[in-house]
């Protein structure tokens, strides 16, 4: 913080006297390394207090039992017991939704998928990232062309990305609330999507239907992000490659398969990584569209147990969520490294 003050002073004051001069002289006398760390101090302090400290603190809280009585935040030290309980299902009695699905010996070996926070989060992540990539690809192909009004088409495609999450949730809530629109009706008077058999008549109260609609809402909002990244990849391709391909008689499909696709694949993978990390944290759209009781994601589980308050359990789920994201990130990074990208 002191750095900013000094920067303000040197910025506004050219005459050098008293404390200004000594501060300036002191800063000028620093080595490059010292100066670098001085300028990084505000960023490191902010991230230290707001990110690193909470992360460490969350981990240490996860080693304590939930408080049972009294005013203390936490119970006694229990080591890794919270993690054991979470993964064996012994903690499910305290959770609004179980962490893992229930495993059985018969095909398909799992039941209660929709009441498991981990399964719901993974289903959401896989399908939303998959469809965002496909649709983003389509949008990028459109935006890569030259045509009149391209600027406005691009605005139209970007705008959903800029919509606040709470309004995104409100929009899709208003679209799928039974009986107000033409998409969802009542059981006596089924509307378009009910007749097609896609969703029931109270889709936002049924986990499978609500999860499907939340994925649709997320694809609507974030495909644009994928589109922009993929478009940037496409536009960095050397156009003369296409001229060569045309001379060699390659069809449009061959040009796409042999030039566009391999050259933008690294970009697409990076974009998918970003979206995966983001999708694993899903919370706001669930809270506004359907509620955490209907669609329990990992972040939902953290917040509900935090509110209960079961701090030990909540911290454990939070740290496991962070751990799963870290695993996903490292899988991607190892793949990148092995492909030499």
């Amino acid at each position: 913080m002191a750095t900013e003050q000094q920067s303000g002073e040197t910025f506004s004051d050219t005459q050098r006297s008293g404390p200004y001069a000594s501060a300036v002289n002191w800063m000028e006398s620093l080595s490059e390394t010292q100066f670098a760390y001085l300028l990084l101090t505000p960023a490191l302090v902010l991230l230290g207090v707001i990110a690193v400290y909470p992360l460490v603190s969350t981990f240490s809280m996860s080693l304590f039992a939930d408080r049972l009585t009294g005013t203390a935040r936490l119970g006694e030290f229990v080591g890794l017991q919270n993690y054991v309980d979470l993964f064996t299902g012994a903690r499910n009695y305290a959770l609004p939704s179980q962490f893992l699905p229930t495993f059985t010996s018969e095909f398909p070996f799992v039941t209660n998928i929709y009441s498991s926070a981990l399964a719901v989060t993974l289903i959401f992540t896989v399908f939303s990232v998959l469809f965002e990539t496909l649709i983003g690809f389509g949008q990028a192909l459109i935006l890569d062309q030259d045509f009149r009004g391209r600027r406005w088409v691009r605005v139209a495609i970007i705008i959903p990305w800029a919509v606040p999450i709470v309004i995104q949730g409100m929009i899709w809530y208003l679209m799928f609330q039974p009986n107000i629109g033409f998409l969802v009706g009542t059981s006596e008077n089924p509307a378009l999507l009910n007749q097609l058999g896609l969703i029931g008549t109270t889709p936002l109260r049924n986990t499978a239907d609500a999860l499907f609609l939340i994925i649709v809402a997320d694809v609507w909002k974030t495909s644009a992000f994928m589109a922009l990244l993929i478009l940037a990849g496409m536009q960095s391709i050397d156009r003369s490659l296409y001229d060569v391909a045309k001379v060699a008689g390659a069809s449009r499909w061959q040009q796409f398969k042999l030039i566009t696709f391999p050259l933008i694949l690294p970009t697409v993978l990076v974009a998918m990584l970003f979206r995966t990390i983001d999708a694993m944290r899903v919370y706001g759209i669930i809270q506004t569209m359907a509620g955490c009781q209907t669609v329990p994601s990992l972040s939902c589980l953290v917040v509900t147990t935090f509110n209960t308050p079961l701090y030990g359990t909540s911290a454990t789920v939070a740290f496991v969520t962070a751990g799963i994201i870290a695993v996903v990130v490292s899988v991607y990074i190892v793949n990148f490294a092995s492909e030499g990208i």
């Binding site: 902010l46 991230l47 709470v166 972040s299 953290v302």
Partner: protein, 319 residues
């Protein structure tokens, strides 16, 4: 879209048969496949335009229809009730929530730009040991979910965290229902993106310009704020616009770090959710508030789309 190609095969089988307009079109399409691509292109573009813009149109339909008529709505409003845009402010002080959102967004943006400018200068222009590790560390922090920070930050900002310095133990001040519990988490959350954008931009300024300023007698920080930042104005604008939009759109901390009242600095998240009444559900007011809430970012996107596009791509594809 797909049917055009198989259709083309049938149409061209027997050129002697009498052809309708479709057949002729198909014939010319085979001779000149570019036209098919062109047609497919327009169909796809129309599809994307309709799917991205329809939800906004739906909001307008619901907002303009009086609430008691909202049932089995078609594609046009049942009635025309522009007074809804006044009624929405009477039911919930939405203008105050929007004001709070703006204050939070601007404060965070200023803080992030200041801190990220210093850090971006260091990463973009200086060489020192530990640089790679620090950049990787900052990147890694941005991967963690906000949920992993929630409990300690909540305790910290509600005054329940005790700090011991030697013999003295002090409690953190209770800052709940002030802007602080939102501004600081937002800043930490969106700082990494701005650092990476500014690192790219600051790193591109030729060394000669900075050296010239230094020879003229400018201090190191003077060179940063008088030479490098002004020359990187597009980069600073990009980072600023993206930070503001991100804060305006944020849900997690906006929802959990205040009590939801307008005079406790709650942003639009709480404002929108407040329309859900205990005894009624005013769909038209919800839709109207959503339209009003989207307007600022929609305008920002229209004005600053070049900046947004370059910032998102530069920030994300940096590694």
């Amino acid at each position: 879209m797909a049917s055009e190609t198989p259709g083309a095969g049938i149409g061209s089988d027997d050129p002697d048969t009498e052809q309708g307009p479709l057949g002729r079109w198909v014939d010319s399409a085979i001779k000149n496949p570019d036209r098919v691509y062109r047609a497919m292109f327009y169909v796809a573009m129309l599809f994307f335009l309709v799917t991205t813009l329809f939800p906004f149109y739906w909001l307008l339909v619901l907002a303009l229809t009086p609430n008691n008529l909202i049932a089995n709505m078609g594609l046009v409003p049942k009635g025309f009730n522009p007074e809804v845009f006044i009624a929405m402010f009477e039911r919930v002080p939405f203008h105050l929530y929007m004001f709070n959102s703006f204050v939070l967004g601007i404060t965070t943006t200023v803080l992030v730009l200041l801190i990220a400018s210093l850090a971006g200068y260091v990463f973009g222009r200086l060489r020192f040991p530990g640089k790679g590790v620090l950049m990787l560390g900052i990147l890694a922090i941005s991967y963690f979910p906000p949920a992993a920070f929630l409990i300690p930050l909540f305790e910290l900002f509600t005054g329940n965290t005790a700090i011991s310095i030697g013999m003295v133990t002090i409690s953190t001040p209770d800052l709940f229902n002030t802007p602080a519990p939102m501004v600081f988490p937002f800043s930490a959350l969106f700082l990494p993106l701005s650092i990476f954008i500014l690192t790219t931009f600051y790193g591109q300024i030729p060394d000669g310009l900075e050296d010239a300023a230094r020879v003229e007698g400018t201090t190191r920080l003077g060179a940063l704020f008088r030479v490098i930042v002004p020359l990187s104005a597009p980069g600073v604008a990009t980072a600023g616009v993206l930070t503001f939009i991100s804060v305006y759109n944020e849900f997690f901390f906006s929802f959990l770090m205040n009590n939801g009242e307008a005079d406790s600095w709650a942003p639009i998240v709480a404002g929108i959710l407040k329309y859900q009444g205990q005894f009624d559900t005013p769909y038209n007011l919800m839709a109207a508030a959503s339209i009003v809430g989207v307007l600022p970012v929609a305008i920002l996107v229209i004005i600053a789309q070049e900046r947004i596009v370059s910032g998102l791509t530069a920030g994300a594809l940096k590694e």
